[in-house]
C-alpha cells in the first residue's frame, strides 16, 4: 500500500504483473445452493497488486465467488488459496485470511450502535490487539484519507450513503489488508454519491492494493481494471484486459451483454 511511487499513474491495465506473486488462487471452485449450482468449476489466479473487475448479469455467481474468498460462503468443491493459506474448515486459517482480506458490502453494514471512529478502530483494537490510542490515531488518518474526518464522532445513521460507504472502506483498510474485495459497493447509492466512492477506489488501486471488484460501473472497469472477468451461470465465460473485453470480445454471450448495457 505504501509503494505508490513504484506503480504507474496511468491506470491499471498498462501494468506488467507477470512477475508478481499469486495472491488468490482458485482451482475448480464449485458451490451449490440446494440444487442450484451457483459456482461451476471457477478457476482463476489473481496476482499481487492486480485489480480484477468481475462483470456479469445478476445471478451469475460473481458475488458468491468473492464472498467465498473470505469464507462468508463455503465452497463445496475445489481449492481456494489466499496468500498461501488454504481455506478449509480450520478456524485459524479462516481468521488469518479474514484479517488479511478487507471487504466492502453493497449495504455498507456499518455497526449502527458505534460512532464512526469506533466502527473503524474496533477491529484493530480487538483483532490486531493494538492499543486504543494508536488504533484511534490510525482511524483518524484513514477517515482523513477517505475525506470525512469531521464525521468521526457521529453515528452511521447520521451520514449519507456515500459517506457511510467511505467509512466502510476505511473500516476495511484499518485492518491493513493485503487484498480488498468490493461487492457491488455503489449499487445502493444515489447517483451523485457514486463518484465519491469510485474516486477512493481508484486511488486505492493506484496505491498498489490487490483488488477484486464486483460492479456494474463500466467506466470504472475500463479505467482501472488490469483484467476483466465476465461471469455467466457460475462460470467465467471470458476474461481479458479492458481493451480486449470492451473492443474485441470473443464470446457471443459477452457481446450480447455489452450490447445491452452500452
Amino acid at each position: 500500500m505504501t509503494d505508490a511511487t513504484t506503480t504507474e499513474p496511468t491506470g491499471g491495465h498498462s501494468r506488467d504483473l507477470s512477475g508478481a506473486r499469486d495472491m488468490i488462487v482458485c482451482e475448480n471452485v464449485s458451490k451449490w445452493y440446494g440444487d442450484f449450482q451457483a459456482l461451476d468449476e471457477v478457476s482463476a489466479t489473481i496476482k499481487e497488486q492486480e485489480v480484477v473487475v468481475v462483470l456479469g448479469p445478476s445471478g451469475s455467481g460473481k458475488s458468491t465467488w468473492i464472498r467465498c474468498i473470505n469464507r462468508l460462503e463455503i465452497h463445496q468443491e475445489g481449492r481456494i488459496v489466499v496468500d498461501d493459506v488454504e481455506l478449509t474448515n480450520d478456524l485459524r486459517n479462516i481468521e488469518q485470511v479474514r484479517s488479511e482480506v478487507g471487504m466492502v458490502f453493497q449495504q455498507f453494514n456499518l455497526f449502527p450502535h458505534l460512532k464512526v471512529i469506533d466502527n473503524v478502530s474496533l477491529a484493530p483494537i480487538w483483532v490486531r490487539k493494538k492499543p486504543r490510542s494508536e488504533a484511534e490515531e490510525q482511524a483518524m488518518a484513514l477517515l482523513e484519507r477517505v475525506g470525512i474526518p469531521e464525521q468521526a464522532q457521529k453515528y452511521p445513521g447520521q451520514l449519507s450513503g456515500g459517506q457511510q460507504q467511505r467509512v466502510a472502506i476505511a473500516r476495511a483498510l484499518a485492518m491493513e489488508p493485503k487484498i480488498m474485495l468490493f461487492d457491488e459497493v455503489t449499487s445502493a447509492l444515489d447517483p451523485e454519491m457514486v463518484k465519491e466512492v469510485l474516486d477512493i477506489m481508484k486511488a486505492l488501486a493506484l496505491s498498489g492494493m490487490t483488488m477484486m471488484v464486483v460492479t456494474h460501473e463500466m467506466g470504472f472497469a475500463k479505467e482501472v481494471a488490469d483484467r476483466i472477468m465476465f461471469m455467466e451461470e457460475g462460470q467465467i465465460v471470458e476474461e481479458g484486459t479492458p481493451t480486449h473485453f470492451f473492443e474485441n470480445p470473443t464470446e457471443d454471450r459477452t457481446k450480447l451483454f455489452l450490447s445491452q448495457i452500452l
Binding site: N70, F105, K129, A203
Partner: protein
C-alpha cells in the same frame, strides 16, 4: 500514498444541511369553550358519550372516595405497622443499619443521575397548566368526598393554593420573551422536600406499639415520630448532596471510568447491603484467617499466574487445552468431598481461563484481565464466607428481614442474576452447536411450561432435601435460585427476539474484519440485540417485581403477605385487610412506574444512533 477523496464536496453537503427551515404554520389555539364544543360535543353521539363517561368517572371517584374516607376505615392499621411493612421484625435498636442501606442506595442514585445526566427540562408555562389542572381536579374530588365541613374547607384551601401557584407560574412564563424552562429534577426535589416538610408540619399523629407485656396501640396527636421524620430529612439531604457530588466528579474525571465504577458499585451493592450490613454476619475470625483467607490467596496467586500466561498472545493453542483442563478439573472437584468454596473458585477460574484468549494482548490488557479475576474472586470468596456465617440479627421465624425489603431483595437478585443467564440461554439457543441449542431449547420450553408457583414450592421444599450433607441453603436463597431460572427462560426468549433482529449483514461485516465469534457477539450482536429487547425486558422486570408477592404462598413474609394476613391478624386491627392492601397499591405502583419511565429514557438514549 496519493491523496484522495475530496473534503470540499462533503463540506458543501454539510452546509446545505444547516440552512434554517421555515417554521410550519402554527395550529390555531381554540378558546376553552370552543375547544370543548369541537372535541366533546361535536355530534349528538359524541355528546351522549361525553355525558355518560363523565358520569361514570364521577361515580367511580365518588365510590372510591367514600370508601377511603368512611369513618369506620382503620387507616391507623397501616400507619401503626409501617415498620412491619418495611422490614418486618428487624430489631428496632439495629435500625441504623436499615437507614445506612437506604443512604448507600440514595448516594448511588444521586451520583448516577448526575453522571448519566438524568432528567430533562419542561416549560414553566406547561408546569403552570399542569398545576391548574391538578388544582381543579382536587376541588372536584373534595366536593365528591364525604368530608366534614372543616375538612372540606381545608382541602379546598389546599386546592386553591395549588391553583394560585399554577396561575402565577403561567403569568410569569407569559411575561418573558424567551421560553422559560425548569429542570424536572428540581421539580422532583421540590416535591420531595414538600413531602418531608409535611412530616414536620402536618399532624399525621404518632402511631406506635407500646412495648409492654401486652402490646398496646398508641396514637398521639402531633406530627410523626422523630425516628421517622429525622432520617427521611437526612436522606433527602444525602440524595441532593450525592447529585452535586456526582456532578463535580463528572466534570473532573473521565466519563467511562466513572460510569464503569458506578455500574460495578451498583452490582456490588445488593450483596453488600444484604449480607454485610443488614445481616451483620457474626464472623469467626479464627476460621476466616485460618481457612478462608489462605484459600483466597492460593487461588489469587496461582490463578493470576495462569491467566497471565493464558493471555499472552504467544501462548496459542496449548492455552485452550489448558483452559479446557481447568474446566474438567472444576467438574472433577465435585467427585470428592471438599469445601464448596474450592469447587466454586475452580469453576470461576475455568470460566476466566476459557475466555482468556479473547482478551489476549499487551501487558496492560493482560493486567486488566487478571485484575478482573482478582476482583471477581474476592467478591465471591467474601460472599461465600458471609453467607456461611450465622447472622447476629435474630428474629422469630426464619429469615431476618421481610416486608418491602425482601420484596426488593428477591426482585433485584432475581433480575440481576437472570439477565446474564437469559443472555447465555438465548445465545445457546441460537448457536450453531446442536448440543447447546438442544439443551437451551429444552430448558426454556420446560420451564415455560410450569407455573411459577410450582417452581417456587419445588425449590423451597424439595431442593433443600437434595443438597449434599453439610450444605445448607436458606429457603429464601433456594427460592431466588428457582425464580431466577424461571425468569431467565422468559428473558432468553425476549433476547432471542433481539438477536434475530440483528441483520445477516452485521454478522458478515464483523466476520469480514476478522473478529472471532466471541468478539462478534460481545461487540456487535449483543449491543444491538439488547437494545431491541429493552421494552419486553423491562416489561418482564416489572412482572418479576410484582410477582414476588407469590412468595407469600411458601411462607415468606413479603409486603403483600404482611398487608393481607399479618396486619389483619393483629387483635387491634381485626379485619383491616382492605385498608392495608389499598395502602400498598400505590407503593407497588410507584416503583413499577419508575422502572417503566426509566426504561423509556434508556430507549431514547440508546436510540440516538439510528436517526
Amino acid at each position: 500514498m496519493a491523496g484522495f477523496g475530496s473534503g470540499s464536496e462533503i463540506a458543501s453537503v454539510a452546509a446545505t444541511a444547516t440552512v434554517p427551515i421555515t417554521a410550519p404554520p402554527e395550529t390555531p389555539k381554540l378558546p376553552p369553550g370552543e375547544w370543548v364544543k369541537a372535541n366533546l360535543f361535536s355530534s349528538p353521539f359524541n355528546s351522549v358519550l361525553t355525558v355518560i363517561s363523565t358520569a361514570s368517572l364521577g361515580f367511580i371517584a365518588w365510590f372510591f372516595l367514600s370508601f377511603i374516607f368512611h369513618p369506620i376505615r382503620q387507616w391507623n392499621a397501616p400507619a401503626t405497622n409501617l415498620r412491619l411493612m418495611m422490614t418486618r421484625a428487624y430489631p428496632e435498636e439495629q435500625y441504623l443499619r436499615v437507614w445506612a442501606c437506604v443512604a448507600i442506595i440514595l448516594v448511588l442514585t444521586g451520583m448516577s443521575m448526575a453522571v448519566w445526566r438524568a432528567g430533562s427540562t419542561m416549560p414553566v408555562a406547561g408546569l403552570g397548566r399542569k398545576l391548574l389542572t391538578t388544582g381543579a381536579l382536587l376541588v372536584l374530588l373534595t366536593l365528591l368526598a364525604p368530608f366534614s365541613t372543616g375538612a372540606t374547607v381545608q382541602w379546598l384551601a389546599a386546592a386553591l393554593v395549588v391553583v394560585a401557584i399554577g396561575e402565577s407560574l403561567r403569568r410569569i412564563a407569559d411575561r418573558g420573551e424567551a421560553e422559560r424552562t425548569v429542570s424536572t429534577l428540581t421539580l422532583q426535589v421540590v416535591a420531595l422536600a414538600g413531602v418531608v416538610t409535611s412530616l414536620w408540619v402536618i399532624p399525621f399523629g404518632h402511631h406506635s406499639y407500646i412495648p409492654t407485656r401486652i402490646p398496646q396501640v398508641m396514637e398521639e396527636p402531633g406530627t410523626v415520630a422523630l425516628s421517622t421524620k429525622l432520617p427521611w430529612t437526612i436522606m433527602l439531604a444525602i440524595v441532593v448532596a450525592a447529585y452535586f457530588g456526582g456532578a463535580l466528579l463528572r466534570d473532573r474525571l473521565a466519563k467511562n471510568t466513572l460510569r464503569v465504577t458506578l455500574v460495578l458499585l451498583w452490582l456490588l451493592a445488593p450483596p453488600v447491603l444484604v449480607y454485610l450490613i443488614l445481616r451483620d454476619p457474626d464472623f469467626d475470625m479464627g476460621h476466616v484467617i485460618g481457612t478462608d483467607i489462605p484459600i483466597f490467596l492460593a487461588y489469587a496467586v496461582l490463578g493470576s499466574a495462569l491467566l497471565l500466561w493464558l493471555t499472552r498472545p504467544s501462548t496459542g493453542e496449548i492455552g485452550r487445552i489448558v483452559a479446557a483442563m481447568v474446566l474438567v478439573a472444576g467438574f472433577a472437584t465435585f467427585l470428592s468431598p471438599m469445601r464448596m468454596v474450592l469447587r466454586l473458585d475452580m469453576l470461576l477460574l475455568a470460566a476466566f481461563a476459557l475466555a482468556a484468549p479473547t482478551f489476549a494482548g499487551g501487558s496492560r490488557s493482560r493486567n486488566r484481565y487478571t485484575g478482573a479475576w482478582l476482583l471477581a474472586l474476592g467478591v465471591m470468596s467474601w460472599l461465600i464466607t458471609s453467607v456461611n456465617t450465622a447472622s447476629t440479627v435474630k428474629v422469630p421465624g426464619g429469615f431476618f428481614i421481610g416486608g418491602i425489603a425482601i420484596t426488593f431483595m428477591v426482585a433485584i437478585f432475581t433480575i440481576v442474576l437472570s439477565v446474564p443467564l437469559g443472555i447465555a440461554l438465548a445465545l445457546a439457543r441460537t448457536s450453531t452447536m446442536p448440543i447447546f441449542r438442544l439443551l437451551a431449547t429444552w430448558f426454556i420450553e420446560f420451564v415455560r411450561g410450569i407455573p411459577l408457583i410450582t417452581i417456587l414450592i419445588f425449590f423451597s421444599i424439595m431442593v433443600p432435601l437434595f443438597l449434599p450433607r453439610g450444605m445448607h441453603l436458606s429457603e429464601v436463597a433456594a427460592v431466588v435460585i428457582g425464580y431466577t431460572l424461571f425468569s431467565a427462560a422468559y428473558m432468553a426468549e425476549n433476547i432471542r427476539g433481539g438477536l434475530q433482529s440483528v441483520t445477516r449483514g452485521q454478522h458478515e461485516a464483523a466476520e469480514a474484519v476478522g473478529m472471532t465469534t466471541a468478539q462478534k457477539t460481545v461487540f456487535i450482536v449483543l449491543p444491538q440485540a439488547l437494545r431491541v429487547a429493552i421494552p419486553p425486558l423491562v416489561g418482564h422486570c416489572i412482572g418479576v417485581f410484582k410477582e414476588t408477592s407469590l412468595l407469600a404462598i411458601i411462607g415468606v413474609f413479603d409486603l403483600l403477605y404482611i398487608a393481607r394476613i399479618v396486619i389483619p391478624g393483629q387483635t387491634e386491627f381485626m379485619g383491616s385487610a382492605r385498608e392495608s392492601i389499598l395502602f400498598i397499591v400505590p407503593i407497588y405502583w410507584i416503583f413499577c412506574y419508575t422502572i417503566s419511565k426509566a426504561s423509556q429514557r434508556i430507549e431514547q438514549r440508546t436510540g440516538l444512533g439510528e436517526r
